[in-house]
């Protein structure tokens, strides 16, 4: 298949998106990530029944918090696809990459580098 996706994307593997908590996403932004994309299984296909639904709710919480602190909730997004959909993963990866490029860098990262 030899599909490519932007090299700026760093993959963090978790056993299930249900393992991803609010604090994990917040820490990523605190450390300077420009965007976070949670890629879970298709809705209804979670091996642990509701992991991807839990993740979606947590993504929504993070979006609200990021809007409150002025970083922008658009920087975090949830996608659902099956592990057999490589081309769709590459498409989503390009999509989130373009979106983040439009939004620009994480304002915190800029402030941090100015302070240093």
């Amino acid at each position: 298949m030899r599909l490519t996706y932007p090299t700026s994307i760093k993959i963090v593997r978790v056993p299930c998106t249900g393992k991803v908590d609010v604090i994990h996403m917040l820490r990523a932004f605190e450390k300077g990530a420009d965007g976070v994309c949670i890629v879970g299984c298709m809705e209804g296909d979670c091996h642990f029944k509701s992991g991807n639904f839990r993740a979606r709710k947590r993504v929504e919480q993070v979006q609200k918090l990021l809007n409150t602190v002025g970083i922008g909730g658009d920087r975090v997004q949830m996608y659902n696809l099956s592990s057999g959909e490589g081309p769709l993963f590459a498409k989503y990866a390009n999509e989130i990459h373009e979106k983040i490029m439009e939004l620009g860098p994480n304002p915190i990262k800029l402030k941090k580098s100015k302070a240093a």
Partner: protein, 222 residues
């Protein structure tokens, strides 16, 4: 347990916006169970505040700590050596913890990070309901283990009232009529004769009507 709900982050930001060193202090007891003020919530609030202040270009130090309880002297003493370093402490404990903190560390402003709601139970994750109003004179023995003081909107002791319809309360069609529950329960226990007994006027002096209350147990005092 004491059930609390998170305060909006905007409100907390407003309390601490002028502070330079802030301690976010959680509690390992009730507020941890109701997911409002435990270690996890401390981490989320601290991270959110750090990002807020960084984005504002302010250099603010935000530390995290979670005590076993904030309603006991010995646990509050754990931060005695470090408390003076902060110019604000946001306590995610219930109102008891926040007040006890304020009494113990009276030179540091203590802000509440949660809204304390009621004494309740976890129906399922994410749903907590009221079960007790701490009236100080428990009558659950005669009402089949269902409390009309906390679960009846009118707190009536000889119910149900005329607003009970098909087992639901008139104030909300989703709310069970406490007295319907009591009758059903007494029936199941084969104790319907208890329902026939008229409950006398309750002594409310043990409730809030008597002002702030205290329990004195000389037998356990040292």
């Amino acid at each position: 347990m004491i059930v609390a709900d998170k305060k909006p982050v905007e409100e907390i930001i407003d309390y601490v916006k002028d502070s330079k060193k802030i301690l976010i202090l959680g509690c390992n007891e009730c507020v941890t169970v109701c997911e409002a003020g435990g270690k996890k919530e401390v981490g989320v609030l601290a991270s959110t505040l750090r990002m807020y202040f960084l984005n504002q270009g302010k250099d603010v130090r935000i530390d995290e700590n979670t005590l076993e309880r904030q309603c006991d002297h010995e646990y509050l003493e754990e931060i005695r050596d470090v408390a003076d370093e902060y110019d604000a402490i946001v306590s995610l404990a219930c109102g008891v913890g926040v007040q006890f903190m304020a009494e113990k560390y009276h030179s540091i402003p203590i802000y509440p990070g949660v809204n304390t709601c009621f004494l309740g139970a976890t129906e399922h994750r994410g749903l907590w309901t009221e079960r007790c109003q701490a009236c100080g004179n428990c009558l659950l023995a005669v009402t089949g283990g269902i409390c009309p003081v906390s679960r009846c909107a009118k707190r009536i002791l000889n119910g149900p009232c005329g607003g009970s319809s098909k087992g639901k309360c008139e104030i909300n069609k989703d709310l069970d009529c406490a007295w319907q529950l009591i009758v059903d329960r007494l029936k199941a226990l084969d104790r319907l004769e208890d329902y026939e007994k008229v409950c006398e006027i309750k002594d409310w002096s043990t409730d809030r009507a008597g002002g702030p209350r205290k329990v004195v147990r000389e037998d356990v005092q040292i």
